[in-house]
């Protein structure tokens, strides 16, 4: 029998009307489970006039109240440690995880049972199998295996598929590169930033990564996996194909993956989630091709039902026909485009870190960068991009800095960017989610408006 390119062929190629019928049925079950087991959520549903019996189509989804991260955190604070969100007793759990905390906020804490944990790996299997990972593969994880859920599910997905797994926790970058080479890893999993970091380290070690056994990189944790310039750079440095995925602790695993056809976007795993895209201001649905905030409803983890959770991720949804792989799962064109709160207003111009990164990555000689916002003369917003450019043959660092400043300005309505070269190794390196924007402004927008938080 010919090997299927799909993890679940029936679901992944289901006609759209059947996907919707499946989602309605699962939504009804999820609401019934939530009503029966989570009084805090049941009260919210009842107040909105929603019951399992009243759900007959996907339009009914819009009657379910949206849930925000702040509400989740508030519930945790009032009833620590998990809040009144658990649908099963803690004794049924085998796993505890929390959000990465890279933004300095209070982390969300979650629990999973044995079945939920298995499901978390199952979602990664959609992505790994869909990108061509098979039992013969040797998979290296550049991941620190802590309480942040990160690649945990991917690790177990690789085992489930039958791959040989190399758990690269608690290792230096040099040691990781060495192990990838000596063990002839064929697949490497990391954040996009760390994939570039390993490539830099390999150069320092005099190693030709492009000549290694690595054929695939599976990226997660940052939007950069779908920024064309960053992805192109990663693929060139590694001589391998790179796929973007995106997940979140709130559901425990990934919701989307890029398939082997690499259509420039990620397929939504629609038999396990309902994803909606709404206007972040009004909460009204937006159509195909329009930028909006994604909301997620998950049919997976039963321990903490997630209904219409506001992710703050910005996406552009397009029909499944945007990819030739045969899946009927819709796509997020360009993956996650950024966060609703990522946008910075600098002297009247919108600046998105992702857009800046996509320009910086066009300059291969730049190893690392930071976007720095500050206040000049106590009143004026300024933006500068600090870059590390190692001395290499044929590289004119001054010219690169000038060209970068020009390119950034042109892409931002003529906004002046003060690009500066800084000492090599002086900018922070990241293994998990990179945080390259530093906002030191004391006055934002109009004169006299004080900054509230750091």
């Amino acid at each position: 029998m010919q090997e299927s390119p799909y993890w679940n062929p029936r679901h992944e190629t289901m006609p759209r009307d059947q996907i919707e019928a499946l989602q309605v049925r699962k939504l009804k079950n999820l609401v019934a489970w939530t009503e029966a087991r989570v009084p805090w959520q049941a009260k919210r549903l009842k107040a909105a006039g929603v019951s399992a019996e009243s759900i007959t189509s996907l339009k009914d989804l819009q009657r379910i109240p949206m849930m925000t991260r702040d509400e989740w955190i508030q519930a945790q604070l009032e009833d620590p440690p998990f809040g009144p969100l658990l649908a099963a007793p803690q004794e049924a759990a085998i796993r505890y995880h929390l959000t990465s905390g890279t933004t300095g906020r209070i982390p969300l804490q979650v629990l999973d049972s044995m079945k939920d944990w298995e499901w978390i790996a199952e979602m990664w299997c959609y992505g790994f199998w869909g990108f061509g990972v098979r039992p013969r593969d040797i998979v290296f994880f550049a991941f620190s295996y802590g309480t942040f859920v990160g690649f945990w599910g991917a690790h177990y997905a690789s085992e489930k598929i039958g791959c040989l797994v190399l758990p690269g926790g608690n290792m230096t970058t040099e040691a990781r590169v060495k192990q990838i080479l000596t063990m002839k890893a064929t697949v490497v999993c990391s954040t996009p930033t760390y994939a570039l970091r390993m490539a830099q380290e390999a150069k320092t070690m005099g190693v030709d990564l492009a000549g290694s056994a690595v054929k695939r990189l599976i990226l997660s944790g940052e939007p950069a996996g779908s920024i064309p310039a960053t992805k192109r750079l990663i693929e060139e440095e590694w001589g391998a194909k790179a796929a973007d995925t995106a997940g979140m602790t709130e559901v425990g695993t990934i919701m989307m993956f890029e398939c082997e056809r690499q259509p420039g976007g990620t397929h939504i795993i629609e038999d396990h989630y309902i994803e909606e895209v709404v206007d972040p201001e009004t909460g009204e649905p937006v159509g195909y091709g329009e930028l909006g905030e994604r909301l997620i409803t998950s049919f997976g983890r039963g321990f903490i039902p997630v209904l219409r959770y506001r992710t703050r991720d910005l996406v552009v949804r397009v029909p499944a026909s945007g990819c030739t792989c045969g899946r009927s799962f819709d796509l997020y064109d360009g993956g996650i485009r950024g966060r609703v709160d990522d946008m910075k207003l600098v002297r009247g111009t919108n600046v998105y870190p992702r857009a800046v990164e996509s320009i910086v990555r066009e300059f291969k000689e730049i190893d690392e960068f930071r976007i720095h916002l500050y206040t000049a003369d106590g009143r004026q917003d300024e933006i500068e991009v600090l870059v590390e450019i190692p001395n290499r043959e044929g590289v004119n660092a001054d010219r690169t800095v000038d060209e970068l400043a020009k390119a950034l300005s042109q892409a931002h309505e003529g906004l002046r960017f003060g690009c500066k070269r800084v000492e090599n190794g002086s900018l922070p390196r990241f293994e998990l989610k990179a945080k390259r924007l530093q906002d030191d402004r004391i006055v934002i927008g109009t004169a006299g408006e004080r900054r509230v938080t750091a």
Partner: protein, 67 residues
């Protein structure tokens, strides 16, 4: 055997579903299971739940049996 979408399951699929149902039954009713029997059966049922769920049979939750 048909799933919730009205699709007839294949013989192999039916066998997997019967395995799952048998395991759930044993875990619910079997009071005399040794630790190695119960805990390994729970791991197996957690994995087979993914199959039954993927086959659209709406398996519900398993917390009451410890999975």
């Amino acid at each position: 055997m048909k799933n919730a979408m009205g699709v007839e399951l294949s013989e192999s699929e039916r066998s997997l579903v019967e395995c799952y149902q048998g395991l759930v039954r044993v875990l619910k009713d079997g009071k005399d299971l040794a630790p190695f029997e119960r805990r390994n059966a729970l791991k197996a049922v957690a994995a087979l739940w993914q199959v039954v769920n993927g086959l659209d049979l709406d398996p519900g939750q398993l917390y009451e049996i410890g999975a």
